[in-house]
Structure formats: C-alpha cells, structure tokens
Amino acid sequence: MTALGAGRTAPRGLGVRVAEDVLYAVGLPVLAVGLWAVWSTRSANRFLVGPRPLLDAFRQTWIGPAFVDDVLPSVYRLLAGLFASIMLGVAAGVLIGRFRPLREILEPLLEFFRAIPPPVLIPVAMLLLGITDTMKVVVIVSGAIWPILLNTIEGVRATDSVMLETADSYRISRWERVWLLILPAASPRIMTGVRQALSVALILMVISEMFASSAGLGYRIAYFQRNYLIAEMWSGILLLGLLGVLLAVAFGVVERRVLRWYHGMREVTRA
C-alpha cells in the first residue's frame, strides 16, 4: 500500500472496510449465480442445469452412503499419494541435491520422466500392479513426485554456502545439518513444489478412477455422464471443484505456518 492509499482509507471506520471487502469477495460470485439461475429457467439446453436442481442433486447424491463409499476412498488415496510423494520427493531431492555426481548422472533421466504426461502411466501401472488401490496411489505418486523432487533439488543446491561451511567447522553432525539447515533452507522451494503437486495429484485421482475403478469420485462422474444423469454429473463436478478449493486453502494455511520465518524475513529485507 502506498502512503497515498493508506491516507485515503484510514478515516473510514473498520466496519465500512470489512463490508467493502465482503462485497468485493462475494459480489461477482453472487451476480454470476443469479444470472445463471435466470438463464437456466429460459434456456432449453438440456445439458445445463440451474443452481436449484444442482443443489438438490448434490444433497441427494453425495450426502449419505455415497460419501463413505465414493468420496472418502478417493480422498484417502489422494492424501496417501500426496504424503508418499512428499516423503519420497524430499528424501530423494536432498540426496540428489547434495551429491553432484549423482545429480549429473540422473539429470537427463529426470528430465525425461517428468516430461511424461502422468496419465499415460495409468495403463503401465495397471499392467504392473493390476487394478488395485495400490496402483492408484502409485499413479498419483508417479505424477506428483516430480515437482516436489525437482524443486527440492534446486532448493538444496541453493543452500547458503557460508552457512554450510559454518556448520562444517562447528562439526555439526550430518543429521542435524540436514534437519536444521538444509531442509529449512530448501523449504520455500519445497512448498512451491508441493503446491504444483496438489493439482497434479487431484487430476490423477480422477483419471485413475475413470479408467480402472468401480467406485470413487472419478468413476461416479463418468457413470452419471454415460447414463445421462445430468444434474448428478454437475454435482460431481461441483464436488471435485470444492475438493480442489479445499486442498488449496488447507495448503495455504500450512504454507503460512511452515514458511512464517521466510515471509517475515522477506518483509524485513524489503522494508
């Protein structure tokens, strides 16, 4: 905020400002839903449904046993895949980032593997692992691990060399060095990688279920579409959207906590 802007907003009360923020935040969404409601009553397109039927379908489809049978297993696989990706990606990233020969040997391979469009690996995983839960988690990991791994490598490489040498001369043990210096130093990059991994993981969760499943969100949505259950299909899309937003919000909270020191440091250097 510039000094000019601050001077302009300061005399107004807190309530006015909060009201303005809320108006800005919900104004366009409310307007859009309103237009959509009006338009859906006049439009003859049978593939589009209005907000009211959509909400009804949402309640009937997802609240109840479907939540336990379809939503929870999907979310569980998603979280398991993400967790494994973070663990493996960070561990391998620290290793590869620390040892230059290893990095040079693996570089072209990593370049190739991260360029493979991840959904292509679903048929491969089906061959190697069969149609199982493990296979779906492996598919999620095989796509989500790359942004985490590559960002961790970059972050580890960029660790301040003076600090590393200081740690050396104080004879700080290898574990402590990784735990107290390298990981924190790389954490901003790691978090960037995790954020990219979130969207990849969500895509792979859906696709793997569309391909090889008899339950789960992706399967349900494809099923509704094939049976022309339009409102139900839309409710599935809405649910996936909500899931995406929820993940993004949860990530934002975690990131702010983990990187609090980093954002604080940036503010100080900027000021």
């Binding site: 800005y24 366009l28 072209p108 360029a115 493979i116 959904p119 292509v120 969207s199």
Partner: protein, 256 residues
C-alpha cells in the same frame, strides 16, 4: 563434457536395468517387455505414416488449445490486471475456479461436443488458461511505481505505456506462464484422447492397453515422454531468448 558423459551413463544404466528386469524374471515379460523389443517396435513405427498422423492430431489439438488459451488469458489478464477494481472483484471467483481440476469437465465436454477434438479442446483450454492468466495478472500489476509515475509525467500515451512499460514488466511472467501452460496442455491433450477417445497418440495408448499389446504401450509412453522433453526444451529456449535483455538472464550469464 563431464556432464554429458555422466548423463549418458545414467541413461544407459536405466536402459540396462530395464532390459535386465524381465530377463532375470523379476517382472513378467508380458508386463514389462524388453527395452530392445520396445525400441525395435518404435523404430518400426516411425517408418509408418499412421504413427505420424496420430502425432499430428495430438500436436494439433495441443497447438490450438494452447493458442486459444494464451490469447484469451493475455487479453483478459491485461484488462483485469490493469484495473484495480476488476482485480479485487474477480479475486475470489478466480481462486475458486482455478483449482477445479480440468479433467472434472471431461464428462461435460463429452456431452456437449461428443467424442471429438472439440471436447478435448475444452479441457486443454481450461487447464492452460489459468496458468497464463494468473501470471499475466501478476505481471501487469508488477509495474514499478516510480517507472509508472515517470511515464505519466513524461506524458506517454496509453499505447506507449502499454508498449514500453507494461509489456516489458509482464513479459517474464508471461513467458513463465506460457512454459507451464505448454506442458499442461500436452498432458491434457494426451489425457483427453485416452479418456474421450478422439484419435491421436492418447487413444492409441488406450487401444494398446485394451489389446494387451505391452510392447506398443511402452513404446508410446516413451514417445509421449520425448514429446514432453521437446516441448519443455523449446519453451525454455524461447523464454531465454525473449528475455535476453532481462536482469535475471543477464546475471545468470555474468556468473557463468
């Protein structure tokens, strides 16, 4: 030189492991065929016109999707980014729409457009659009205040301000967005073909799978990976070239 040598060692090592896994019986030969078989088949495929036709279809939907998404994102992003009112008013909507996984729209696209390239384009454009849009908004809003005030007091016209002030500021952001969008568009071009079934490399992968043709399947996976590498390399090169004047690239070159 050392780097190239070690990289080659890594690649060869990987291929050797791949060859040995089925040879030693650790993995069934039908699930993981020999590397030599896969590359032999690829060599055969490359001389087949049908392969190139599929490749062309995939890359066509990729190119159309990326172009449409980029044009729309640059246009809308510039307007929204330059007008503070719009930026504030669209913030929540953008933050809600952006994380919606584009593949969730596949059923909808299929219903509206059938099993055709148009359905695939909906998915590709949706996914690629946000990558560029968000970057353009950040980039356009990042104009240095001193530079902006200077431009005002020198009486630059609206066009001149866009050309000499906003564009150079936003270009690094735009190129980053474009690079990310190109990769995402390729992923979704192939994915759409696999799920929707419009002709292209992705559909061939799905067909190989259902026919139990493991050799062909692995070959196509290698092809899509190489395609991805080419797209990455080309866009990274374009990024460096178009930003040759920019501080980040200059500083990189100076330390080399």
């Amino acid at each position: 030189m050392r780097k190239i040598l070690l990289g080659a060692v890594g690649l060869l090592g990987f291929l050797a492991v791949w060859q040995l896994l089925p040879a030693l019986g650790l993995v069934d030969r039908h699930d993981l065929p020999y590397a030599t078989d896969v590359f032999g088949r690829l060599f055969h495929e490359v001389r087949d016109l049908a392969f190139w036709r599929r490749l062309r279809l995939t890359m066509t939907s990729w190119a159309i999707g990326l172009t449409v998404a980029t044009l729309a994102a640059v246009g809308l992003g510039t307007v929204v980014g330059l007008v503070p009112f719009l930026r504030r008013a669209t913030h929540t909507t953008v933050e809600f729409l952006r994380p919606v996984p584009s593949v969730a729209l596949i059923p909808l696209a299929v219903l509206m457009f059938g099993l055709q390239m148009r359905a695939a384009l909906v998915i590709i454009v949706y996914a690629a659009f946000w990558q560029v849009f968000v970057q353009v908004i950040y980039g356009v809003a990042d104009v240095d205040t001193v530079a902006r005030d200077t431009a005002r007091s020198f009486g630059l016209t609206r066009y001149e301000r866009l050309r000499y002030l906003v564009l150079p500021t936003a270009l690094p952001y735009l190129m980053t967005g474009l690079r990310l969008a190109a990769a995402v568009a390729l992923i979704l071009a192939v994915t759409a073909e696999m799920v929707i079934g419009n002709p292209g490399l992705g559909r061939m992968i799905e067909l190989s799978r259902s026919a139990g043709d493991a050799v062909g399947l692995y070959g196509l996976v290698v092809v899509t990976g190489l395609l991805g590498v080419v797209v990455n390399v080309v866009f990274r090169f374009a990024e460096r070239r178009s930003l040759a004047w920019h501080q980040s690239v200059l500083a990189d070159e100076a330390t080399r």
